[in-house]
């Protein structure tokens, strides 16, 4: 009986200890992987894509806007 109890205690201490050690290592491994990826292969595609898409609209000249407004008006009249 006491033997069973000590087996249970052993399982608890070692089991819980191992789970904590494993997940701690996983935290470090994950952190290291994230840093490595940020350094080696930074995700460059989405960041510049957005400004590029916005840029032409922002720099669109007043003239262009006026022309388009006129065109839309013309279209709506018909």
């Amino acid at each position: 009986m006491d033997n069973l109890m000590s087996e249970g205690l052993n399982l608890m201490v070692f089991g819980m200890g191992f789970v904590v050690v494993f997940l701690t290592l996983l935290v470090f491994a994950t952190g290291f992987m994230s840093k490595l990826i940020a350094k080696v292969a930074p995700e460059a595609i989405p960041e510049p894509a957005k400004p590029a898409a916005v840029a032409p609209v922002a720099t669109g000249s007043d003239e262009l806007v006026a022309v388009m407004t006129a065109a839309v008006h013309q279209y709506r009249k018909h």
Binding site: M5, L9, L11, G15, L23, A41
Partner: protein, 433 residues
Amino acid sequence: MDKLLDLWHASGVYNVSPGQVVMILVGLLLLFLAIRKNFEPLLLVPIGFGGIMANIPEAGLAFSAVENALHLGGPEVISSLATALGLDTTDPYAVKEAYNAAAAQAHTAAVYAANDAGYNNGMMYNFYTVAIASGVAPLLIFMGVGAMTDFGPLLANPKTLFLGAAAQFGIFATVLGAVGLTTLGVMDFTIQDAAAIGIIGGADGPTAIYVASLLAPDLLGAIAVAAYSYMALVPMIQPPIMRALTTEAERKISMVQLRHVPKTEKIMFPIVLLMLVAMLLPDAAPLLGMFCFGNLMRECGVVDRLSDTAQNALINIVTIFLGLSVGSKLSADKFLDVETLGILLLGVVAFGIGTACGVLMAKFMNKMQGGNSINPLIGSAGVSAVPMAARVSNKLGLESNSQNFLLMHAMGPNVAGVIGSAVAAGVMIKFVG
């Protein structure tokens, strides 16, 4: 008249035992809970129905060919079985005991003897052999869960893995509880039984079934029913514990938005996890290997068809067989036992302790980081039960502060809990398997 008597003697009403009646009622109760109360219906409907079918008198759906031959066959069948097992008796109980203890060769001889006499395995016994005894069904479900899991929130804040680790304390505390009950002479569990019961606290159905099928197949029915019922009860079990352990101010803490996680990180994570498992704990490789494989299929983006099958069609098919197979273990002689009560009781204790440890760990981490960056409510999500536990954290957060959305923050510890309970399962199998 003789024919009429034969028909009566072959009928269920004539043959039914009180235990079978009770188990059919238990099956009906499970169906009621699943259909009317919406308790994990995807599993409890097949389990409940399977439980009813397993207890149909004389049909022997859940029994092996030898068990059926012993139950239904005449003295000459029994004595031929006894000869195959090297005995000289016609007592069916003695033969059954010898069969259960027999080495592979005598075992096979007995099966052939039963087949020669015209008896076959019951349908549900075959389901159980294929789906659970082989380990296939829980592992395929784990693959599907992997294909459904988004590790984004976990990768954005890897420290939440500590919460998933802390919540696993419920598992090990319950092992001690089960062993303690045995020492006090209340129940009779071996260390293997205790380990399988403890894993209920992992709040992860497939993991619990996998561990039980390896360590304590006799208790599998009760353990699976307890695990799935308590998963359905998460929204009732957790909130009182969470409220008791946190202050109103702590529940109001709102957390900063998570960073964007690049695709490459999500693809690499299952591989890193698999490598760590391979290096440190090969016993967890079946569970975590399938989990990582499912997740890699989801994230790599080039096998969407496989990922889609794993998380929809395949997991549905496997769930049907898994549920029916678990139901086959709900036979009266194994389920109607004081130990089942002990399992149900210890299971809910495991859940409670896991929840409490997760919350306390989150409180501790919050204190370490200045006291205003981690809402302790997300700690309770460390007991897997994806995504129910995370939703509970979110709901309690909204109660204290209607602008506080914790769902994504709670998903981190939630999926960490899945990894944690699979690691705990691996440790159990390693130490007592």
